[in-house]
Amino acid sequence: MKNIKLILSLLLAVAFVALLGACKSGPTTIDPGKKPLKIGMTNPITGAAAEKGAPMAAANLDAIEYINNELGGVSGQKIEVLSLDNGYDAAKAVTIVKRYIDEGYLFFTCASSGMMTAMMESANRASFPGIVAFSAPNLTQPPQHIYGQTPDYGDDWVAFANYYLKNIWKGTGKPKMALHLLNNSTGAGAKKAAEAKASEMGIDLVIVKEHAATTSSEIASITEIKAKSPDILYISSTPAPTAVIIKNAKELGMYPGITIASGHAGITKALVDLAGADVVEGVYGVYPTVQWGENVPGMAKMTEYVRKNHPNYEGNADYVVSWSQSLIAAEILRLAVTETGADKLTPRTIEEQGFMKLKDFGVGGLHGPVTYTPGDNRLSKSVRVLQVQKGQLIPITGWIDAPLIQYAK
């Protein structure tokens, strides 16, 4: 009886091993010729960041559909996308990027800086390039294989501070600035830039306050800020807490009165809806892409596709960013294919012949121009200043450059 059991268990074990053999699937053999160009795109479609991740993933795929169907792909070859949801979970993101590396994808894109920090080391160790839509200094400095599509929150601050000093500040001496920051890298990014550059630019940082994304009342902190009588309040946060802060500022009589400006994470239509158009009238903000409905070459196709596939995302600012990201990805592929030929593409050649050869790519006017400069892994370095006028976000400048900030180690 014991021997039969032993044999049975061994048979079971062998069967188990055979099943596990199914887990082995190396890179598939590809016949030479018109094989599709494979890129990976991962976004937080579900989870804590779903409000941004879902439209961004949709935009990524819509733009690729547009390129494949109407432009015939890149130099005649279709782009194949594996879109995976990282659920804003670091562990999942790591498995996703490893899968991209393992299965021979050429490069990957991602929407969120938080998720990119999780994937960064794995990608850098394997020299696997990636583009992140919303960037942060820890991703692009020191420059390795991660490229930031848009300027980060610190760059926003510098760009607006420049604009403020030149165009809005009318007094003498140094203007007094108060910062209200979200308790994550969005806020910290602006804080680091402000601390590094404020005195150099001639701005006096009088008070820095922090808040959580879930705050429902900032009366206490605004009261404190009011006591310091600043000239400008810069908020680097997402729409919901920004709305709360501006509402509270209005209740305490601070606004209208001082200047209020927001980084690109907060200055969206959601802010106007949540706070009410009358409350946020006159608030400034910086944003790295155009607004819906502006007259630029790329607007028509984007509007057509969003109405066809995802009509409820029309008007969503994040959609514009990710649509542009796909256009940039296609441009990178085009440059690399033209230079090297589609058969010899590897992640390294994509980086050297694609990423690093980007020069003045206009992205259909949807974006600041995209150029790679050595030592600076930010692809687009410019933003525009907007102002809320009668409930609409109206751009009041052209593309302003945000210079590279070298943070002290």
Partner: protein, 295 residues
């Protein structure tokens, strides 16, 4: 001095809203001993239903509100009947974990039905803030505080004088004795869950009218835990008093402590420090009943 008044008033007003959500928790705990860890998500779901009723279906405020209340009743009934009834005699850990699983499930439903995860409710209260001396309070907070107080009084009266209320208190005390008296215990559980969901719905509507419908409502649910711990898990009075205390501590701490210590984000951590301190000093809360255990 004006600052102090401002902090105090804001703190109390905000705290009353926490108290409202905490009331729902205390109700369920009091009558069935189940810790409802899905509280935040129930608040979230109710807020989204409000959004659906008021914005997507365009109903007027009062009718929309009624729809939300009816939905909350239905939700409470379903949760108790489908998810908790089968586990009626299991150890408490299983029940808590079921509410955790429920939390995940409800979150999935919210994402499923409303892929856009931030929405604004139409304005329900006038925007002009009220001035009390040199301090300013938004009318939304005052309404929220008033509604919480009103509901608390209604609930207290209900528990004191109505038959069902007395039966619920008896069930919290000793389930077996109640069964011996012929009171249907399962019906009491259902009723307490229905109450809890209705309270969470009202709290959700109030909170989202202040800050919009976002996933942050879940974290506000977590803050109500600190209210519950402070006030005592099985005390309604504790919830109503604990709420303003936590709100006060948050605002005063933000206002004054951060000047002394210089850490910017201290407001976030104050409720949790309070929990730990209460655990050390008075583990059952200010008004909670001390549990006497026998072998």
């Amino acid at each position: 001095m004006a600052e102090l008044l401002q902090f105090v008033i804001t703190g109390i007003a905000v705290g009353m809203v926490y108290a409202l959500i905490a009331l729902g928790f205390v109700l369920v705990w009091k009558s069935s001993g189940v810790a409802n860890l899905a509280l935040g998500q129930i608040v979230l779901l109710s807020s989204w239903i409000t959004y659906a009723a008021l914005v997507q279906m365009g109903l007027t405020i009062w009718i929309g509100f009624l729809v939300v209340i009816i939905f909350a009743v239905f939700l409470g009934w379903i949760i108790e009947r489908v998810f908790l009834r089968p586990l009626i005699a299991q150890p408490i850990l299983s029940l808590i974990t079921v509410t955790l699983g429920l939390a995940y499930f409800i979150q999935g439903i919210v994402v499923f039905l409303w892929p856009v995860s931030v929405a604004a409710l139409p304005r329900m209260f006038p925007v002009e803030p009220i001035r009390i001396g040199p301090a300013v309070v938004s009318q939304q907070y005052l309404w929220a505080a008033a509604i919480s107080l009103f509901l608390f009084i209604v609930l207290s009266l209900f528990f004191r004088f109505s038959r069902m209320g007395i039966a619920m208190r008896a069930t919290a005390d000793d389930q077996r004795a109640v069964q011996a008296c012929g009171i249907p215990v399962t019906r009491i559980f259902t009723l307490s869950w229905i109450f809890a969901c209705v309270l969470a719905a009202v709290g959700g509507v109030l909170m989202s009218s202040i800050g919009g419908v976002t996933f942050g409502l879940v974290e506000t649910g977590l803050k109500s835990f600190s209210v519950v711990i402070l006030g005592g898990l099985d005390s309604l009075l504790g919830a109503i008093i604990g709420g303003p205390i936590i709100g006060l501590a948050e605002n005063l701490g933000d206002g004054y402590l951060s000047r002394i210590i210089g850490w910017a984000g201290i407001k976030e951590i104050i409720p949790f420090f309070i929990i730990i301190i209460v655990m050390f000093i008075k583990p059952y809360g200010l008004f909670g009943e001390e549990r006497v255990e026998r072998i």
